[in-house]
């Protein structure tokens, strides 16, 4: 199929940036969206135009690098997938496709479609861990049984890939879904209990410092999250936060 692409081009963080329009031809429906972008880039290089910069690595939906806002939707029109897992069969011959970077104050553009998501790392630094050093003589892994239901729920929360689609989608650019997924993982496990109060307080504090917006419960994040992280996690985090404030 033949497509028209309107792609955001921005040289660096200081640059204003603007859309550029390109045509690509003979795109196979079996290609992934990023392979289509590869075709565009090879074509641009041939024309002497610098290629479009975007983040990507695993190309199988797990590393969380890829991050394109396609036709107004984080990771594009398909559900439950990342940009790298989106296939061109979701589009029609003759379509015009708009491709933008994540837009949020806390995610400044690095170049073109690539943004800086180091704010997420700093939120994890604030408390997204259990304080245990590497030791050869820890209790046996089976010393504390964990109810399967809780273990499974902790796992579900822990599958967040840190892509930032939730932030990009949210009209307030809130990071609540991301933060609550990590808080929930530990809240559901006995290992997480000791530091629970400090963890939620510090992570929420860091989230605010980074300039993410407030959560107004629109639920848009849950819809666009490629990993199906549920907004129940936000409710759980709010309860944890309340608990922490009472005990403080």
């Amino acid at each position: 199929m033949n497509l028209t692409l309107k792609v955001w081009r921005q040289k660096n963080a200081q640059d204003q940036g603007s859309f550029a329009t390109y045509a690509v031809r003979d795109i196979s429906p079996d290609m992934s969206f990023l392979e289509m972008m590869d075709v565009l880039n090879e074509q641009l290089i041939a024309q002497g135009v610098e290629s479009v910069v975007f983040d990507h690595d695993c190309r199988e939906g797990i590393c969380g690098m890829c991050s394109m806002f396609i036709n107004g939707e984080a990771h594009g029109p398909d559900r439950g997938v990342t940009t790298c897992q989106l296939h061109m069969r979701k589009f029609k011959d003759g379509d015009t496709i708009t491709v933008e970077p994540w837009r949020a104050k806390a995610f400044p553009v690095v170049r073109d479609l690539m943004v800086d998501r180091s704010a997420f790392d700093r939120i994890i630094q604030a408390g997204g861990y259990v304080s245990v050093n590497t030791m050869g003589n820890l209790p046996d892994a089976n010393a504390t049984p964990i109810e399967k239901h809780d273990a499974d729920a902790a796992f579900d929360a822990a599958t967040c890939i840190g892509c930032g689609a939730c932030v990009a989608t949210c009209k307030n650019a809130s990071a609540m879904l991301f933060v609550s997924a990590k808080v929930s993982q530990f809240a559901l496990l006995p290992q997480g209990q000791v530091e629970a109060a400090d963890r939620v307080r510090n992570m929420v504090h860091q989230m605010d410092l980074e300039g993410f917006g407030n959560c107004t419960n629109t639920g848009a994040c849950e819809v666009e999250c490629p990993k199906g992280i549920s907004i129940e996690n936000i409710a759980r985090m709010n309860r944890e936060y309340l608990k922490a404030s009472i005990t403080a």
Binding site: K11, N12, S28, D30, M31, L34, E35, E42, I45, A46, G48, S51, V53, D55, H56, D57, C58, R59, E60, I62, C63, G64, M65, V81, Q85, H87, V110, M114, D116, R117, S118, F120, D121, I124, Q125, G128, Y129, V130, S131, V132, N133, T134, M135, L138, A141, N142, P145, I146, E147, K148, A151, A154, F155, A158, T159, G162, Q185, L189, Q191, G192
Partner: protein
């Protein structure tokens, strides 16, 4: 044994070596550790765990990765699981059995002492991860669940659905970020090591390119740890992440670190086949699928042709016209033969013309028998003795969905075909590299002060890696081996003081790196980097892939040398040096792959035997099975970079001594 290789295997019985050795390593006091800097290149499982553990001990750590965050390393993509000799299932597992299985699985080309240590520390890895809050799968009693994986006879694999690598990496990442918060680790994301700096014969730093600004930076330390992953992307198409590369390891090789067994690469049998020219990577379908799927191709060439041309559907082909070739050739193990055996058998059928997709390079992985079997079980359980075929199928489909639902969904997303109804198509793809930088028992390379961990070293898997053992090795190296063994080198550095980055060795290395990058930009040729990479991959896949022979390897060497020459002359890289420029970074990586590829061919040519993932067509039995030559080739090939030419590398041999495992021919018949 070459005089330049000292494997430093401790004396004594195998089960006591590690404990005794640990006891003799000189200790560095906490106050002194604060005066010692360590660079860790790579923050996958091996690098993150090493960086976090060393920082906890008190060393000053600088860690580097090329992604925007350490959480995104390629380890994140591992699906299946991690082995440990816990014997929770009481099925007779033990440290010795895990050790034995690993040495045998590696086709007797690994070092016994290292493998035994790996098996010894495996239990602690699981304890450590659980303490960190890694949500492994559990049973209804709340205890950890295990599965059997990769054709071994015990259930020792711990897992977190199909996302074990992700959960383990996030565990190591959180430990790392905790140290970043404390200021014990300084993290350099979006930084790529482009050279190693050696001062007075010791590894004392690196040159790194800041990928955002393009600046070349000098970083010094008392020791350098490389944990930069494997080099599977030398094949262009592989299951590795797009950015995975050999540059850190290769640059270290050029500065004196020997490269071991480069021709030992693993081809995984169950990947989604190539669909078209612009394909950028291949996707793995977990090995666990072989527990329930049956692999077949049509028995007759005519039918295969009809299927390829779309005139015939696989579901219309009756049983007697199908060739379940693994079950036919290997009745004892059937569809569960090890990876190398399954991969070669698929290639053999497709080469003979029985492939089932447009490209002729695909075989079927069929779940219909499993669906009916499970369906009947369920019907019996539910008291439905007269269930119709459709009802049985529906019940069975549910069971298969509960086991493999996420994989089936992934398959359908990519191929647009429903694997519950029509058999999956699969084909082998490059997955893992057993070869890597040579290290001694302390994981130190031939450059003093340069340590290597994880997939980047050659250490534990011999000529073939067993499933679920790479995650184990990465975390063993990082959490439980390096934190001790770096002491063997660093104990002498207590009084050295900070290493200056103004030393001539740093200045020189930076200058050379700059010249290299400028060279790519100045070539102003006509061909994009990607095209060269694709062409290189085709040579490597065709001639240094699943089956190799002397003539093919010699042609490969000539072709690679010609391609390299063309590359430097005709590569087209736009943009500048001091800005973000992924094309320029790619050129630098592909340049190194082109040198490595030649060394792989040379290594494969020298190794006149078939073992594990290395299959030389000249060395096979009458019925096509691999023939090892233990008398002449029970050694590790360690290559020394010589005369500034990868093709002139000097071979050093580390003889392998087997005192605890008897060498036998692997048989899966």
């Amino acid at each position: 044994m070459s005089s330049k290789l000292n494997s430093r295997i401790p004396e004594g019985p195998i089960a006591e070596k590690w404990t005794k050795h640990k006891g003799t390593i000189p200790l560095v006091s906490p106050a002194n550790k604060r005066r010692i800097d360590v660079i860790v290149v790579g923050t996958g499982l091996a690098g993150s765990s090493a960086a976090a553990s060393l920082a906890e001990l008190g060393y000053n750590v600088k860690a580097f990765c090329f992604q925007d965050s350490p959480r995104r390393a390629h380890s994140i993509a591992a699906q299946g699981g991690i082995n440990a000799a816990k014997n929770y299932q009481n099925d007779g597992d033990s440290v010795f059995r895990l050790f034995y299985d690993t040495v045998k699985g590696g086709d007797y080309r690994s070092r016994e002492a290292n493998v035994h240590r790996l098996a010894e520390v495996s239990s602690s890895i699981i304890d450590q991860c659980v303490a960190q809050g890694v949500p492994f799968a559990r049973d209804y009693g709340g205890l950890l669940d295990n599965r059997s994986f990769g054709g071994v006879q015990v259930s020792r694999t711990f897992y977190a659905k199909g996302q074990t690598g992700q959960q383990l990496l996030l565990g190591a990442y959180s430990a790392l970020e905790r140290q970043v918060a404390k200021g014990r680790v300084k993290m350099y994301a979006r930084h790529e090591m482009v050279d190693l700096v050696v001062v007075d014969g010791k590894a004392r730093g690196i040159i790194a390119r800041n990928l955002v600004t393009g600046e070349l930076e000098r970083h010094s330390a008392h020791a350098v740890i490389i944990a930069s992953g494997g080099y599977g992307n030398v094949f262009y198409l592989s299951t590795n992440a797009m950015g995975s590369n050999v540059t850190a390891a290769w640059k270290a090789h050029k500065k004196g670190a020997f490269f071991a067994n480069p021709c030992f690469t693993q081809i995984h049998p169950t990947c989604i086949p190539v669909s078209g020219e612009s394909q950028s990577k291949l996707t793995l379908m977990s090995e666990s699928l072989r527990n329930d799927g049956r692999i077949w191709v049509p028995a007759e060439l005519e039918d295969a042709k009809a299927i390829r041309e779309g005139r015939l559907k696989p579901t219309d082909l009756p049983e007697e016209k199908r060739d379940y070739y693994l079950e036919r050739r290997y009745p004892a193990f059937g569809n569960l033969v090890p990876r190398d055996v399954a991969s070669r058998a698929a290639k053999e059928r497709c080469d003979a013309g029985y492939g089932v997709n447009k490209t002729g390079e695909a075989v079927y992985l069929d779940f219909s028998a499993a669906i009916m079997r499970y369906g009947k079980e369920q019907a019996n359980l539910k008291g439905m003795p007269n269930a119709s075929e459709a009802e049985i199928r529906a019940l069975g489909t549910k069971v298969v969905e509960s086991k493999y639902g996420n994989l089936f969904q992934m398959y359908e997303k990519i191929t647009d075909e429903n694997p519950y109804v029509t058999p999956m198509k699969i084909y082998p793809a490059v997955h893992y590299t057993m070869g890597g930088l040579w290290v001694d028992y302390n994981l130190m390379s031939t450059v003093p002060g340069l340590f290597v961990a994880g997939e980047a070293n050659f250490s534990d898997h011999g000529a073939n890696r067993l499933g679920a053992s790479a995650l184990m090795q990465g975390l063993a190296d990082g959490y439980f081996v390096l934190p001790y063994t770096v002491g063997t080198f660093l104990a002498d550095d207590i009084r050295t003081g900070p290493i200056s980055t103004d030393l001539p060795e740093f200045v020189e290395a930076e200058k050379a790196a700059r010249a290299r990058f400028e060279g790519f930009l100045k070539a102003k040729g006509s061909t994009p980097v990607e095209v060269f990479h694709r062409r290189l991959g085709k040579i490597v896949w065709d001639k240094i892939g699943m089956a190799r022979n002397e003539a093919g390897l010699k042609t490969a060497i000539a072709e690679i040398r010609a391609l390299r020459e063309e590359f430097y002359r005709d590569v087209k890289v736009l943009g500048g040096m001091f800005e973000m420029n992924p094309e320029l970074d790619k050129a630098n990586r592909v340049a190194d792959f082109m040198e490595l590829a030649e060394l792989m061919a040379l290594d494969a040519l020298t190794r006149e035997e078939s073992c594990g993932g290395h299959f030389r067509e000249e060395y096979q039995s009458e019925d096509g099975e691999a023939l090892r030559q233990d008398d002449a080739f029970a050694f590790v090939s360690a290559w020394e970079f010589t005369d500034n030419d990868p093709g002139k590398a000097t071979l050093h041999k580390e003889d392998l001594v087997f005192e605890n495992v008897k060498l036998v021919t692997r048989s899966y018949k």
